[in-house]
Amino acid sequence: MHPPLRSTPALLVLLSCAEPEAVAPPATTLPTDPTPTLPSIPLEDTGTWAPADTGGTATNLDPSATVQIIQEGFWTLSPDNGPYEQISGTLRIDEWPDGVIDTGTDTAVDTAEPPRCEVTFSIEGADQPNHSCPDCDVVFNITWTLVEGDPGPCRDPDLPLDGAEWRIGYVSATNTIKFDYYHSGVWVDWYETEQNNDTLHVIYDTTKAVAEEEDP
């Protein structure tokens, strides 16, 4: 911490007290300096100078921690072969710190920090013929039901709430599930899909950085 500049007011007072006649008269001759110090190139203030950018040359910062967020499930469309009127299935949400993947076997590989978020939802829904999705093959109003786990530690800000009602659309051309973002009419790509007969394999998989939590 810098010391307070307490001497400044005193200096100001002294300056304000100075008598005009106490100021030394200007020198009438300048001392001769045999070694000129002015640069040979005249300095010019163009007014366009800007601080040098170091951002492009600085070392790329690496995050100290990451989390892999996997949301995956199988949703069944019915009746068989369509046109589809109903959808049901589950979605499992796993968040793995630093990208640790559960291999499914109880080995030493799995002894890392346990996932902070393990949640399973079920969905049930019916088709919604009147919708605003321009590309969707079919649109469903679905209800999310929390089946297992505590969503509290999950980091995805848009995780569904238990009992939430969403409107989603299936676009076979792009193999995506779109989400009518909280009924706003804005359709956002939400899950990638693979269709196998009347079953959709839906998945969202991303790895993002996280700020490490400080110890209390």
Partner: protein, 341 residues
């Protein structure tokens, strides 16, 4: 103590000016009033209001969106939650998203700093019903970020906080909307301005805007805006205002719709202020008897003061602004995790 001593010493040895009685000091210097013969004040004050209608969270948000569009894996690093920066006063439990890095992309874009954002959108109902559709949306951006191009030219810079929200009801035979925004910080770069608008060079501001439309027209603006390069009327580099204008739609029986409540200040490059003052200055004052006629008359005219010296009346029709207010669409509030690269 030292300063007191110096003051005493100064007083005892100083010139005779301090000892002279006030009546012997002569008249105060007359303030120099700058030449304003070429200034169209009506247009200048309208231009000031139009400029500030663009000082919204949409400007820094536009640059932020462009910075997200150019993200490559690892540059900048995208975070779930706040960035790991001790200078950022964001609760660890906040549910937003962020980028934080000092890096260069393969395309040569250089990112430096951080941006943290939160959004919230909700909508219910149907617009073609009597009950109607109600939509609300908010977004908030906190940044100390710069993005530069390969030649180090600035693409976007925002240092500060920006927030805005919309609330709108659309129903059969009825429409109502409210838009409010507060930007505190500096905004610059073509990704925010794209060379358009009245402030392409960027600004420093703390402006709050509030506007309603549909069934009720109202406009409020409070705060300061300093233009880095652009000049209003080739002369003014800053605006300051505390401005409330009631439109004819939805006005109460005692509301004045011909002129705003409050004042607008313009500052020239010599730091001289030109203030246009409308009395009463706020709605609370307007509810009390205001013994300041004719200045307080509802006549569309305010009093111009230059360097605090009264210069006469200026009459401006600010009601034209109601047709020029724009607000972001709901889609502009949507930037979830699932949309990030």
């Amino acid at each position: 103590m030292i300063a007191l001593f110096l003051l005493w010493a100064c007083a005892t040895s100083s010139s005779t000016d301090a000892e002279a009685p006030p009546e012997d000091r002569g008249p105060a210097d007359v303030l120099e009033i700058p030449d304003v013969s070429g200034v169209d004040f009506v247009e200048a004050y309208l231009a000031a209001m139009r400029l500030n209608l663009e000082v919204t969270a949409s400007r820094p948000w536009g640059g932020h969106l462009a910075s997200i569009d150019d993200v490559e894996p690892g540059c900048p690093d995208l975070y779930v939650g706040p960035p790991p920066n001790d200078d950022v006063m964001i609760d660890d439990a906040s549910r937003g998203l962020s980028w934080y890095d000092t890096c260069s992309t393969t395309a040569g874009l250089a990112y430096d700093g951080f941006s943290y954002w939160e959004t919230d959108v909700s909508s219910a109902g149907q617009p073609d019903t009597v009950e109607g559709e109600t939509t609300s949306a908010t977004r908030m951006l906190v940044s100390d970020a710069a993005v530069r191009d390969t030649d180090t030219s600035l693409r976007w810079e925002f240092d500060g906080e920006a927030a805005d929200s919309i609330y709108q009801v659309e129903a059969t035979g009825y429409s109502h909307w409210v838009y409010s925004t507060l930007v505190t910080g500096t905004v610059s770069g073509p990704d925010s301005f794209d060379g358009s608008g009245t402030t392409p060079g960027g600004y420093r501001t703390d402006l709050y805007l509030y506007a309603t439309g549909g069934d009720v027209d109202e406009l409020e603006a409070r705060g300061n805006t300093y233009l880095f390069f652009d000049r209003l009327a080739d002369r003014f580099d800053s605006t300051a205002m505390d401005f409330t204008l009631i439109g004819q739609r939805g006005a109460g029986p005692t509301d004045c719709t011909l002129e705003p409540y409050g004042w607008i200040g313009l500052r020239d490059e010599n730091a001289y202020w030109y203030d246009l003052v409308f009395l009463p200055t706020d709605l609370l004052d307007a509810q009390e008897p205001y013994p300041n006629d004719p200045l307080s008359e509802c006549d569309g005219c305010g009093t111009l003061y230059i360097r605090g010296v009264e210069q006469g009346e200026i009459c401006v029709d600010f009601s034209v602004l109601f047709a020029e207010i724009t607000r972001p669409t709901v889609a502009e509030f949507v930037l979830p995790l699932h949309s990030l690269p």
